[in-house]
Amino acid sequence: MTEALERAVVPPVSDADPFAHEVLLDPEPLHRALREAGPVVYLSRYDVHALARYEQVHAALVDWQRFESGSGVGLANFRHEKPWRPPSLLLEADPPRHDAPRRVLREILAPPALVRLRTAWAGVAEELVDQVLAEGTEFDAFAALAQAFPLRAFPDAVGLGPDGREHLLPYGNMAFNAFGPRNDLVAADAHRVAELSAWVNAQCAREALSEDGFGARIWAAADRGDLTYEQAPLVVRSLLTAGVDTTVHGLAACLYAFATHPGEWQRLRQRPESARSAFDEAVRWQSPVQTFFRTATTDVTLAGTVVPAGTKILMFLGAANRDPDRWHEPDRFDLTRDPSGHVGFGMGVHQCIGQHVARLEAEALLTALARRVERIELAGTPHRHPNNTLRSWASLPVRVHGA
C-alpha cells in the first residue's frame, strides 16, 4: 500500500468544463487537450478523473469488475444521490443483476432475429426518400431523414401504439442530459420530467405493446421466467430511452459526413454494401454518445494514477475514437479505414445492445439514398443542439442532386 502510494503519479489537473455549451457544441479542442495532458486527468470542477486516450478508455470500459455501472453512468453517484428515475436494469446495473436483462435483450436484438426487419426497413427507407425528394432538392436532412426514418421504423419494431410518439425524442434528450451535471440543460427539461416519464412508462406496459414487436418478446421472456414481471417494463424502457436519439444523431452524423466529403459519397455509391461500415466510421468520427461515467469499486491504479474507491471516472468515448495513437489520421472521415474496435458503442458487457438495429437502420437509409442521390452537399450552416451526453443536431440543411 505504502509502496504503491509512493509510486503513484499525481495526474495533471484541468479546470475545464466538458459540459459547458461551447464545449458540447465543439468538443474536439478539449478532447485533444485532455489526450495530450496525460492518460488520466483530474477534472477539479467535478472532482472526477477523466480518460481521453483510447487505451485507458477501452481498458476501463471492459473492466466491469473494477469500474461499476450500478452507481450510475452519469456524474451523479447513486451511492450518495437518489437517481432521477428507477435505474436502468441494463445501463445502470452490474453483474450479476445485469445478466438476465442483458441476455434476454441480446437475443431479441441479435442479427439472426433481425433478418425479417431488413426487408421491411428497406421498404420504409425507399418510401421516405422518395417522399422527401418529391418535395424538393433542398431540405433539412436532420428532420427529414435522420429523425424521420428511425421514428418510422423503430417504434413499430418495438410495437408502440400510434399516439404520443412525439414524446420519444424529448424523453431521450432529457435522459441523456441527466448523465451530466445539473446544469442549465437539465433545468430546461425539469418541467417536462413528470409528463414525459409518465408517457414512456405507460408505453412499457404489456397491453400498450403490439403482439409481434421487441416489446412483446421482452414480456414473453418474463412468461418463461427468464426475467421477472417487475423487470420486463424496465427492459422495454431501455429500448425507448437508448434506441431513438442515439440512432437519430448517429444517422445525422453520417449524413453530415457525406455532405462534407463528396468523394466518400461516391465511394459509398460504388459499393453500397459498405453502408454498415460507413455508419460505423461516422460513429467513430462523430461519436454520437460522447461520454459515460463509471465508479471505481476499489482503489484502481490506471497508468500510475490511483482512482480512489467509490469515486467517478469520466470516459471520453469521442476523444478515444480520435486518438492518434490508435487511429491513422483520426480526424478524417474515411471509408477506406477499418473502424472496427471504435468505442462509439462502448465495449465489454455494456456494449450497445442495439448496435445491430442501428446498423440495419443506417444500411436501409443509406442504401435507399445512394440509389437516388448522385451528390449531397451542405446548403447552409448546420446547427448543433447542446446535450450533456449526445453529440446532437438541431438542423442539417442540404441540397441533393438526383442520380
Binding site: 438476465a100 427468464d226 477499418d338
Partner: protein, 338 residues
C-alpha cells in the same frame, strides 16, 4: 505430437490459445485446471452456467473420423470466479467409459501446456428467482458452483442438494459446506443412498427455480418428479457427446466471397476475418472474441465450425451464418455472402 502448436494456435477468440497454469487433484478421479492467457490478457466474460470448448492437442483415439484430423474437443463448465477476469477454472472427471478426452486431461496435460478454447457459451443461464433449488449429481456440481455463489450474492433463498458415489468422489464438497453451511446438503450414495427427490420436489412451488446437472438417470428422475411443476421452473444441463464436438481442422480451407468474386485460403495462423479482409472484403468487427455479433456473416455453402458465444444450438445447426472472428470451417470450403 506435431499438432500441439497448431491446435494451440487455433484457439479461437483468445489469440494463441490458453495456458494451463495449474492442475490440481480436487476429488477422487477429478482434476481442476486453471487456464490463463499466455500474455496475461483478460479472458472473455462469462456468466454462471457457461461452458467452454476445450481443445486438447492430441487426437482422440475413440472418436469420429471428423475429429481425428485435429485435436480432441470437449465441453466443460466454467466453475471459477467471474470477478477474476484473467483465469478460467474447469474440473474434469476421468470418464472410464468416455471417448478419451478426460483421460488425456488426467494423464497427459501438464501445467505450461497450451490448449485451444472456444466460447464461453451459456445454455444454462441462471434466471431471476426468489428461491432456487440446485441439484448436482457428481461432476454436475461444476456449473452449479458459480450459481450458488451468485444466488448468495443476490440474496436469494437457496439450497444445494449434492449427490455422489462416495464422499471422496465429490469435488468442492468441503469448500461448499465451509462457505455455505446448512444450505448445502451432501448425500454420498454409499452412506445415505440416493437423493430423496420426492421429499425435495414432491410439492410443486411457484416461487422456486430448480437447476439440475448430473448424469442422465438423475436428470430423468428429476424431470419425472417435477412433471407437475410450473413450466420453465426446471432447468437442466446435459452434456451429450453429440452436442457440439466441434471438429478442429488443421488443414487450410478455402473461403469463396461470392459477391466479390474472390477466393481466399485460410491457414491455421489466421482467422477467417483476417483472411477475407486481406482479400479486400469490408467486414466490420468489434470485440473479435465471438461475443458481440458485429461480424456475423451469411454463409451460402459449407459447414462452419462455430466457436462463438452467441448463437443458439438452433442457429448453429442452420449453418446459414457465422462469426468470422472466431469460427472456422468443418470442411474444405465455405462460401460467404461477401
Amino acid at each position: 505430437m506435431v499438432v500441439t502448436s497448431a491446435v494451440a494456435d487455433a484457439g479461437p477468440g483468445v489469440g494463441p490459445g490458453l495456458m494451463v497454469s495449474a492442475k490440481e487433484h480436487v476429488a477422487e478421479g477429478v482434476v481442476s485446471l486453471t487456464l490463463t492467457h499466455p500474455g496475461g490478457a483478460r479472458l472473455p466474460d462469462w456468466t454462471p452456467g457457461s461452458h467452454i470448448d476445450l481443445v486438447l492437442p492430441w487426437g482422440s483415439p475413440r472418436s469420429s473420423a471428423a475429429e481425428s484430423g485435429g485435436g480432441t474437443t470437449r465441453q466443460y463448465s466454467l466453475c471459477g470466479d467471474r470477478w477474476d477476469a484473467h483465469t478460467y477454472r474447469i474440473a474434469v472427471l476421468r470418464e472410464a467409459a468416455g471417448r478419451g478426452g478426460s483421460a488425456q486431461v488426467h494423464d497427459r496435460l501438464r501445467p505450461g501446456d497450451r490448449v485451444g478454447v472456444g466460447g464461453p457459451r451459456n445454455h444454462f443461464p441462471l434466471v431471476p428467482s426468489e428461491k432456487y433449488l440446485f441439484i448436482a449429481g457428481g461432476i454436475g456440481i461444476t456449473p452449479l458452483l458459480p450459481m450458488v455463489r451468485q444466488a448468495e450474492l443476490l440474496g436469494a433463498d437457496w439450497q444445494l442438494l449434492y449427490g455422489g458415489r462416495t464422499r471422496a468422489s465429490m469435488a468442492f464438497r468441503e469448500e461448499l459446506t465451509a462457505a455455505y453451511g446448512e444450505r448445502v446438503h451432501v448425500v454420498p450414495q454409499d452412506e445415505l443412498g440416493l437423493l430423496d427427490l420426492v421429499a425435495w420436489l414432491g410439492t410443486p412451488r411457484s416461487d422456486t427455480k430448480v437447476y439440475c446437472c448430473g448424469p442422465a438417470p438423475l436428470l430423468a428422475a428429476v424431470e419425472a418428479v417435477c412433471a407437475d411443476w410450473p413450466p420453465y421452473a426446471l432447468r437442466t444441463e446435459r452434456f451429450t457427446a453429440a452436442a457440439q464436438s466441434a471438429p478442429v481442422r488443421e488443414e487450410p480451407f478455402e473461403v469463396e466471397l461470392r459477391r466479390t468474386g474472390r477466393t481466399v485460403t485460410v491457414t491455421q495462423e489466421m482467422s477467417v476475418l483476417e483472411a477475407v479482409r486481406r482479400a479486400g472484403a469490408d467486414v466490420l468487427s468489434s470485440c473479435e472474441q465471438g461475443t458481440c455479433g458485429t461480424c456475423l456473416t451469411p454463409v451460402l455453402e459449407g459447414r462452419p465450425d462455430h466457436r462463438d458465444s452467441v448463437l443458439s444450438d438452433h442457429e448453429r445447426a442452420a449453418n446459414d451464418c457465422m462469426f468470422l472472428c472466431v469460427s472456422r470451417s468443418c470442411g474444405d470450403r465455405l462460401v460467404l455472402d461477401l
